[in-house]
């Protein structure tokens, strides 16, 4: 490492893993946290960053992003996605394998790893596909992909339709002790659906996706995790019913973890009114009761992780008739501000819980570097202003995607600096 040492002066050091929450300095040298806490004089030549009034936390980890490379480099690349992540305060991101071709073998995993290293922004950890070609038939080569750098497996974008295949994946993953992440959707119920099923879908004449389309898979997979002992991770939970089922599963001691996306703890289906395609995602935005239940689940830990499901799309693809527009919104550069605005400002959770759900928990569950400010740990650090109010302007995104439902909205909380392996990769 030839980077200059970094001295973060006078920030609020917040590390839920060690229950630290105090004003102090933090010194980074040779890619590691050399010391944290108290007043540190700092070595000669160190770059000093004044962190007064700012929070210094372990770097955020997003376990659910779509980087579109290979296949749709016009929409996003590993490099632009990793840069967007850094701007959003994320030091690590996990890239879903629904690329073209599908990331379902060691060579494809190695490609994503390489692109991530070349980008020199946030760290990029690939998911491998559960099944070859994400076709839901033949189990993919978990062992080889792990050796190439995969950290978890998912067919995200599609559910694992066959309960037998899901059972097998959970069993097989035990050898490697990695999570199997499920996109919960009963396609026979959800088919053709464009938004949450309910009064609004009835009025707008859009085919609805009932909450049960998600919940049927949630309970199926929890039962399979109970049977197999495999580590089940549930992607992008969107309903109150799912929260209740996960709560039940955890009470039984079943190895299940879950994530929720920023849009599902902040927005309701009302955003779809007027056929706004930037409010179209899968699973869809639900009702206020679902949002409240998900917020509560983030608070009590039923939901372990705050993720984004960052899903860039080309402008032309979203500029379409609603039923034809693709699902998904970008989230890396708004997640912190949304999560603080909708969870911390209304005092549903503390900043410490926010850091736990955005950094410590995902790093722990996916066994990734970071997630702590302990001396000697890797220096993956996020510095953010928890009270700065700002207006979302998609034109300023580092992501190629502009498809956000938050354009023009006021958010609270913004990244000031992002440090990956001791290197300053982003500074506002």
């Amino acid at each position: 490492m030839t980077e200059r040492p970094l001295l973060l002066k006078g920030g609020r050091l917040m590390d839920p893993g060690t229950s630290r929450d105090e004003i102090g300095d933090l010194l980074v040298r040779d890619g590691r946290i050399e010391s944290a806490g108290g007043v540190i004089a700092g070595p000669d030549g160190a770059e000093r960053i004044d962190c007064k009034g700012l929070v210094v936390s372990p770097g955020f980890v997003d376990v659910h992003v779509h980087l579109r490379e290979p296949g749709r480099e016009d929409v996003e690349t590993v490099a632009t996605g990793a840069a967007a992540a850094a701007a959003g305060g994320f030091t690590s991101i996990c890239a879903m394998p629904n690329t073209d071709p599908v990331t379902d073998n060691q060579a494809a995993v190695g490609f994503t790893v390489r692109q991530g290293i070349l980008a020199r922004q946030a760290r990029v950890f690939p998911y491998g596909a559960i099944s070859v070609g994400q076709k839901g038939e033949q189990l993919a080569e978990f062992g080889e992909m792990i050796e190439a750098g995969a950290v978890a497996f998912s067919d995200d974008g599609r559910p694992v339709v066959s309960a037998h295949l899901m059972r097998t994946a959970l069993e097989y993953a035990r050898t490697f002790d990695v999570p199997v992440a499920e996109h919960c959707e009963d396609a026979t119920l959800a088919q053709g659906g464009a938004m949450n099923e309910g009064a609004l879908s009835a009025r707008l004449g859009l085919k609805g996706i009932p909450t049960e389309a998600e919940e049927i898979f949630v309970i199926r997979d929890i039962l399979l995790a109970r049977r197999t002992g495999g580590r089940l991770h549930l992607c992008h939970m969107s309903t109150k019913g799912s929260v209740d089922l996960i709560r039940w599963g955890k009470l039984q001691g079943i190895p299940v973890t879950a994530e929720v996306c920023s849009h599902h703890i902040s927005l309701t289906e009302d955003e779809v009114t007027g056929y706004n395609t930037n409010a179209k995602m899968n699973p869809p935005l639900r009702t206020a009761a679902d949002v409240a239940s998900l917020q509560e689940a983030v608070k009590d830990g039923t939901i372990d992780i705050l993720a984004t499901d960052h899903a860039p799309h080309h402008y032309d693809e979203k500029e379409r008739e609603f039923p034809q527009a693709p699902n998904g919104v970008v989230g890396l550069e708004t997640a912190l501000g949304v999560n603080i605005q909708w969870l911390v400002v209304p005092e549903i959770i503390t900043l410490a819980t926010l850091v736990e759900r955005m950094s410590c928990a995902p790093a722990r569950i996916f066994k990734l570097p970071g997630g702590t400010l302990r001396a000697g740990g890797v220096a993956d650090i996020t510095v953010f202003n928890p009270t700065e109010q700002w207006i979302v302007n998609p034109a300023e995104f580092r992501s190629k995607g502009r498809n956000t439902p938050y354009a023009g909205r006021k958010l609270t909380g913004r990244t000031v600096a992002t440090i990956v392996a001791g290197r300053l990769v982003f500074r506002r």
Partner: protein, 321 residues
């Protein structure tokens, strides 16, 4: 004066009761034009209207075309099969290209819910929704209202039941919105698999059995089973549907009062409606079609900026305000 309906007609849900009554009242003097030997007035002379149909249509497209021509507008029909849409052109590009040729109005039929609003927000021309997916078909709703009003008078407290495939029906959504605004009581009747799950939120009551609906109603609007929109088996068979929900002479004979029978067409005879009902004394199905032209003339006139109080005079050639 500002246009009394705004720029576009996208549905009946966004309209006020006053705006709906205004359209119906404006349609009254236009009815007479179609009864003349020379069925033409110069009201919209010099205006260009494009009929943009992304779905097959006979009745609605021809009705609009007659309405436009009887008001002396220049009309162009674009159907998807013969257009650059089949070459992959997007809806917004198609519309912007048409607009670049300096048109005044677009009448659009499209398979996607929300397509009319999508278009209206992106072009300056007036947009008239001629049916968007499963969302709304406002001129059909208006002609149904006009027909009911012709026969039943003031619709306040009148009981209208929509029968059949409400789930896939844009006609049902426009009817429900319009009837409720005009003070009618509205019910739906059909197999639950063809009703929206949240049907109660639409402000209507539900009859599980057609016999009960017939006993309750002053008028039945019998919806077409839309097999082309049914992606999976919503009902066991057409034969069983007719047996359980078909509007038949025998069922109507047991009604406590004569019911008006409406159908938006095209009919599946022997499925949702039996021929002796469709062709019977209480059927107003062809009256609906006649009213369709007058209602569409009224909508074209009002969107073009015509003054409602001058509609009668406009027939004689009074210019647009």
């Amino acid at each position: 004066m500002t246009a009394p309906l705004g720029k576009d007609l996208l549905g009946l849900a966004p309209l006020s009761a006053e705006q709906i009554r205004l359209i119906l009242d404006t349609a009254e003097p236009f009815k007479e034009i179609s009864e003349r030997q020379i069925k033409k007035v110069p009201t919209l002379r010099g205006m260009t209207v494009v009929n943009l149909f992304f779905e097959p249509s006979t009745r609605t497209r021809i009705s609009f075309e007659f309405a436009e021509k009887r008001l002396s507008a220049d009309t162009v029909n674009v159907a998807t099969s013969g257009s650059s849409v089949v070459k992959g052109e997007t809806l917004v590009d198609t519309a912007r290209n048409l607009e670049a040729m300096r048109i005044d109005m677009v009448v659009m039929r499209h398979p996607s819910s929300g397509a009319a609003q999508f278009l209206a927000e992106r072009i300056e021309s007036n947009v008239i929704n001629a049916g968007d997916g499963m969302h709304e078909h406002p001129t059909q709703g208006l002609l149904d209202l006009l027909t009911l009003r012709d026969r039943l008078g003031d619709l306040t407290g009148k009981r209208v039941c929509l029968v059949g495939d409400v789930l896939h029906s844009r006609v049902a959504r426009s009817n429900i919105a319009g009837l409720l605004k005009l003070g009618a009581e509205v019910a739906v009747c059909g197999p639950r698999s063809l009703l929206p799950n949240a049907v109660d939120a639409l402000g209507v009551s539900v009859f599980e059995r057609i016999e009960d609906a017939i006993e309750w109603a002053d008028a039945l609007n019998v919806l077409r089973l839309q097999f082309e929109r049914m992606t999976a088996g919503y009902i066991p068979s057409q034969r069983e549907y007719n047996r359980v929900f078909g509007v038949s002479r025998a069922r109507l004979d047991r009604a406590p009062r004569d019911l008006l029978i409406l159908h938006p067409g095209p009919m599946n005879r022997g499925v949702e409606i039996d021929s002796d009902v469709a062709d019977g004394p209480h059927s107003v199905i062809l009256h609906q079609v006649t009213n369709g032209v007058a209602v569409r003339m009224a909508v074209l006139y009002l969107l073009a900026g015509g003054r409602p109080d001058l509609a009668d005079a406009a027939k004689g050639g009074e210019a647009r305000a």
